[in-house]
Symmetry: C2
Subunit: 125 residues, 2 copies
DNA sequence: ATAAAGCCTCACACCGACGTGAGGGTCAAG
DNA sequence: CTTGACCCTCACGTCGGTGTGAGGCTTTAT
């Protein structure tokens, strides 16, 4: 599939997809015309990339992580390098902490929002 | 208290504190010498600012939120403007979504980390 | 008095993911 | 053949929070 289609399917901009390739996160084949040729698996791969980005990992790190995840990513892994393990452990801790902070922020926001329309309970999501 | 002390107490850089003032998040008094003079409450205020930053709010939004929180922020609020309520609601949804994504990312990371040192359980934080 | 430390105001640098536009090929439809 | 849609590669712009350095005050300690 070509880049436009992948963009449409994933909801990610064309620019971003090119950027992902530039960062080594995607390695599409190339047609004789120079066009990128993405596989069907790349749809999932892009989803995982986005997920990890949203977790605050930078692309260099995502690249290593994805190197440990095979094709559809549903189950298997290769051996993670020891350095990577250390880094990911740090990242893991950061994520846990960040989730806590987000929870706290939510409390703050809900206080404000609660004040907005009186003492009645805020619509729970 | 002067900026250096506040920086030390909050763990936030001097540069950032000046930036917060520039964004209207802090309004320190000024001594005759031009030095900023922060109040004791500002320590809490800075903590809240950091919290909201980590939740992904930009300073313009934080400024409005803090406008609804009185002194020590422990309980009360002023009336939030209706526009602000709408924005915060959006932000709230984003945060909830983001927490979900972080949780998913955690699962991905734990899979990798689980593969790192064999089938034994991962050290639970 | 003199040095050291803390403060001040610009104002430019940086990072990371992405927008955007220029300039130019490729390809299917009319 | 031409139009229009899609693709390509640079390469610079943006945004937000922060680092950093210049140039110059005030205050504190010796």
């Amino acid at each position: 599939m070509r880049i436009g289609e992948l963009a449409e399917r994933t909801g990610v901009s064309i620019r971003s997809l090119r950027y992902y390739e530039e960062q080594g996160l995607l390695k599409p084949a190339r047609g004789a015309n120079g066009y990128r040729d993405f596989s069907a698996e790349d749809v999932n791969r892009v989803a995982r990339i986005q997920l990890l980005y949203s977790a605050g990992l930078r692309s260099s790190c995502i690249s290593e992580v994805l190197g440990c995840v095979s094709g559809d990513g549903s189950e298997p892994y290769a051996e993670p390098a020891p350095d990577l393990v250390a880094e990911l452990t740090t990242v893991r801790e950061r994520i846990v902490r960040q989730m806590g902070e987000l929870g706290d922020s939510l409390v703050v926001l809900d206080r404000i929002l609660g004040a907005a329309h009186g003492p009645a309970g805020v619509g729970r999501s």
